[in-house]
Structure formats: C-alpha cells, structure tokens
C-alpha cells in the first residue's frame, strides 16, 4: 500500500465493508504506520461513542404525571403545537407534542418555565434578589422569583437526570462537571453573603451565577430534547 490509508477506505474498514484481502492490507499498513494507527484509534473511539448512543428512553411515570398536571385536561393527542421563539436553534422549530414524546414535552415545559424565570433573574440586581436580606420592600417579589428559579432549575435538572442516558457519557460528564463548578461558585457566594448580607456586589454575583446555572441547565435540557 502506497502512502497512507485514505479516509473512505478507513471508514469502510471500520464498518466491515472491505473484503478480506483489503482488510489484510489495511492491517499490515496500520501495524507499521503510527500515523494511520492513531487515525484508526480516533475513528474507532468516535464510532463507539456514536454507536453507544441509545435511541430511545422511557420517561419516568412521575415525570409524565407532572407533565400531565402542567398540561392540564387538554393533554396532547399528537396534534398540539407549541411555537418556540427563543432558545437553542434546535428548539426554534415548531414542536409537536404527542403522548409518545413525553420526555420532550417535559423539556419544553421546563424550558418555557426557565425562560420566564430567566427574565425575572435578569432584573434581579435592581430588585434586590438578596437571599437572607428580608428587609427590603421588594423582598416578597425576590423570594417568589427565587422560588420560581429553584423550581425551574429543579425541573431542568430532572430532565437531565431522566434523559442523560440518551446522551454520550462524555457529554454528561462535561455538563455535570461544569454544573458542579457553578454550584461551587454559588455556594461560595452564598457563604460570603451570609457574612455580609448587605453586599450589593455579592447579590450581583449570586444572581449572575444563578443565571449561568439556569442557562447551562436549559442547554442540557435542549440537548436531551434533540436526542429524544
């Protein structure tokens, strides 16, 4: 074999589409060529990741129950359509809900919920979203906003938890590691805020970190949706 293995041949090799003689020639070349051996290793790993992605997942009963409650009596029959105008590109299409798309419905509802809370959090610094500062007149609004946020974050995390088997494990690991990074930042900010509850800067940082967590969770949920 002259030169290196070309890309199509490598793909055919990985898919088992070459005849025995061709396979033998590739094997011989790879044995003596570090560059092609590395390429083969990378392609094999990538194909394994792609092939391992499950195509279906059963939604949890409690998730469906909650979705049903949120949808109300007008449960989807396969023709309900929710237009999505914000969020990742994959969600900018018109999404049809059906009984067979419960997980996806959960994602959509959680995303919509998250979007509303996002808007509230975006105004948080001006409205005094200061956990542990119960004196400001707008505190009631702030606490309500925080409760909404926590519920939205919980819903979105639930979607990730239930749907993570749809995703490549490496992707799940990346998402969870970065969520941990944000959680650590939130915890550190909360601790500092407990020591200095009047700090406007800490309130700002807390709101920023909460927003970022919600954004990553929404992104994760949209990825689950795309794979469901």
């Amino acid at each position: 074999m002259n030169g290196h293995i070309d890309e199509p041949t490598l793909n055919e090799y990985l898919e088992g589409a070459l005849d025995a003689r061709q396979v033998e020639r590739v094997d011989e070349h790879v044995a003596g060529c570090e560059q092609c051996r590395d390429r083969l290793g990378r392609q094999t790993g990538l194909l394994a990741e792609l092939a391992d992605l499950p195509r279906e997942a059963e939604p949890a009963r409690d998730l469906w129950a909650r979705i049903s409650r949120q949808i109300g009596s007008g449960a989807p029959t396969g023709a309900d359509v929710i237009p999505i105008s914000r969020g990742p590109a994959r969600l900018r299409h018109r999404i049809t809900l059906s009984l067979g798309q419960l997980l996806a419905a959960g994602v959509v509802l959680a995303l919509l919920s998250g979007a509303g809370v996002w808007a509230t959090l975006s105004r948080a610094p001006e409205r005094g979203l200061a956990v542990g500062v119960p004196t400001a007149p707008e505190t009631a609004v702030s606490v309500a906003a925080l409760n909404d946020y926590e519920q939205a974050a919980f819903d979105l995390r639930e979607v990730l938890t239930r749907g993570k088997e749809l995703l490549d494990p490496a992707t799940v690991q990346v998402l969870e590691e970065n969520l941990e990074t944000i959680e650590a930042a939130i915890a550190e900010t909360r601790e500092a805020l407990a020591r200095d509850p009047a700090s406007e800067v800490l309130v700002q940082r807390l709101a920023t970190n909460l927003r970022r967590r919600l954004e990553v969770l929404r992104h994760a949920a949209s990825v689950v949706y795309a794979e469901s």
Binding site: A89, L175, V201, T208, R212
Partner: protein, 284 residues
C-alpha cells in the same frame, strides 16, 4: 413542502466513498447543514454556486435539498453505525450559514452573511460573518475573528475568543477564559465562572461594557481618551490601574467607582476571587 431538486445536477446523491459536486445557488439565501460526526470546513467565493465535497463511506448518502431559498445538506446512513462525514464546502460569500453538529468541528472562512453554528463536541472557528454571528459549543473552544454585527459566542467547558470584530459582543463560558481582542463595540458582555477575562478594544461613548468572572482575573486594555464611568469590584483580589485619569491606589471596599473623561460609557468589572487590572493600550 420539501422540494427535492433532481434536475441540473442537484439531486440526492448516493456516491461511493466521496461526494464531489457543484450546484447552482440560484439566489439561495441560506445553507443549512447537519452533521453528526466529522468536520465541516466552509470556504467562500464570488461565484453563485455551491461546491460540496464530502468524504464518507459508501453506505452513507449525502442528501442535498432545496426548500425555497434554503439549501439543506444532511447525510444519512442506510444502515449500520451512525455516520461520520467530513465536508468541505465552497459557497457564495454572502450566503447565510446555519450548521449544526454533534461530534463535529466547524471551520468557516471569510463569510459575509449571517452565521449560526451549534455543536455538542468540537471546536468552532469562524472568520468573518455579518449581521448576526452565533457560535455555541458545549465541549469545544469557540473562536470568532473579523465578525460584524451581533456576535454571540458561548461554550461550557472551554474558552471563547473574539478578535477584530465590531458591533455587539456577548461571550460566555463556564470553565475557560474569555478573550476579546481588537474589539470595536457599543455593547460587550463577557463572563465566565472559572477563568480569566481579557478585553482589548474601544470604549464608545454611551456604550456598555460588562465583564465578570467568579474565579479569575480581569484585564482591560483600553485606548487613550476613554469617556466612561468605571465600576470595579473584586471580593478577594486586588485592583490596579495604569491609565491616565484613573486612581493609582484603590481602597479595599465593596465597589470602586471613578470617572474617565465625560463618563459617557459604562464599564463594569466584577470578580469574586481574582484581581482586576486596567491599562492603557500600547502602555506595555
């Protein structure tokens, strides 16, 4: 209704090993491409044609469809494992591009239309783009150079970089640096949770520039003659400035505010643990 063009060389292609064809753009305004795994490289030219080269296995089919003014490209595997396709496209310079991928790296060179790229695993590199340039990778570095308009770049686990760009800039990640260089923008928002933030660019009168990180340093390199109200806050790090009109010493307190020139623009920089530095461009 999806229209599949068969005439004129635009067809559903089933070629062994490699697809290599040129189709007339015929006034198309956008190209949509979805790729599950592999790489996508997009060049531009002044012709009203689209050249599509793709390397893939013989069991993979590259479908090229047209829906109104939108050209759609997607590969399908007839059976077996999911598809890896390496694309190299050459498209009209002003064509809008919308590229989505899973395990896909994307490189776009000299685009002059709107660009939107989203990938799960893989780096994104964009040179050019006008009007709206959006690039998002979950696990990949995002780099945009020479964009004009609304520029939104984000990652989760890697750094994001924007250079020599103008308009409005939004750059975010969770773990990694945010680096903005050669920026001429009226609005900039740059944030990360764990990583440094660097900005080198103009400050326009009336503009708004917000930089934040939880754990990392913020470095702002500004041209001479800035008119801005500057608010800096570092909870546990130091603040330093080497810029005409800025204080030379900062007391450790909640937030430090000072005015440069007329104070027309607003600059905010906050970090929980990390220092903040303001310096003049060219000042060493």
């Amino acid at each position: 209704m999806l229209t599949t063009l068969i005439a004129g060389g635009l067809a559903v292609l089933t070629l062994a090993q490699q697809t290599d064809t040129i189709i007339p753009a015929r006034g198309a305004t956008r190209l949509d491409l979805e790729n599950r795994g592999g790489q996508v490289i997009v060049h531009t030219w002044d012709r009203d044609d689209i050249q599509i080269r793709a390397e893939h296995s013989s069991r993979t089919m590259v479908e090229i469809d047209r829906l109104g003014n939108v050209i759609e490209i997607e590969a399908e595997a007839r059976r077996g494992p999911a598809t890896i396709v390496d694309y190299e496209l050459t498209v009209p310079r002003a064509l809008d591009l919308n590229i989505e991928g899973m395990f896909t790296t994307v490189t776009i060179e000299d685009a002059d239309g709107a660009v939107e790229v989203e990938t799960l695993e893989g780096d994104i590199n964009i040179r050019g783009g006008r009007g709206s340039v959006i690039a998002e990778s979950t696990n990949g570095e995002v780099t945009v150079e020479g964009a004009q308009g609304r520029v939104e770049v984000s990652s989760v686990s890697r750094g994001v970089r924007v250079s020599d760009s103008s308009g409005e800039i939004l750059a975010e990640t969770v773990s990694g640096p945010v680096i903005l260089q050669g920026i001429s923008a009226t609005s900039v928002e740059a944030g990360t949770v764990s990583g440094r933030v660097e900005y080198e660019g103009t400050i326009e009168d009336g503009g708004r520039y917000v930089f934040g990180t939880h754990a990392g340093r913020i470095v702002l390199t500004l041209p001479a003659g800035v008119n801005a109200t500057v608010a800096l806050a570092s909870l546990t790090g130091g603040i330093g400035a080497d810029y005409p009109g800025a204080p030379t010493e900062f007391e450790r307190r909640e937030r430090t505010t000072f005015t440069l020139g007329t104070g027309s623009a607003r600059i905010e920089a906050e970090t929980f643990s990390g220092g903040i530095t303001i310096r003049r461009a060219g000042g060493g």
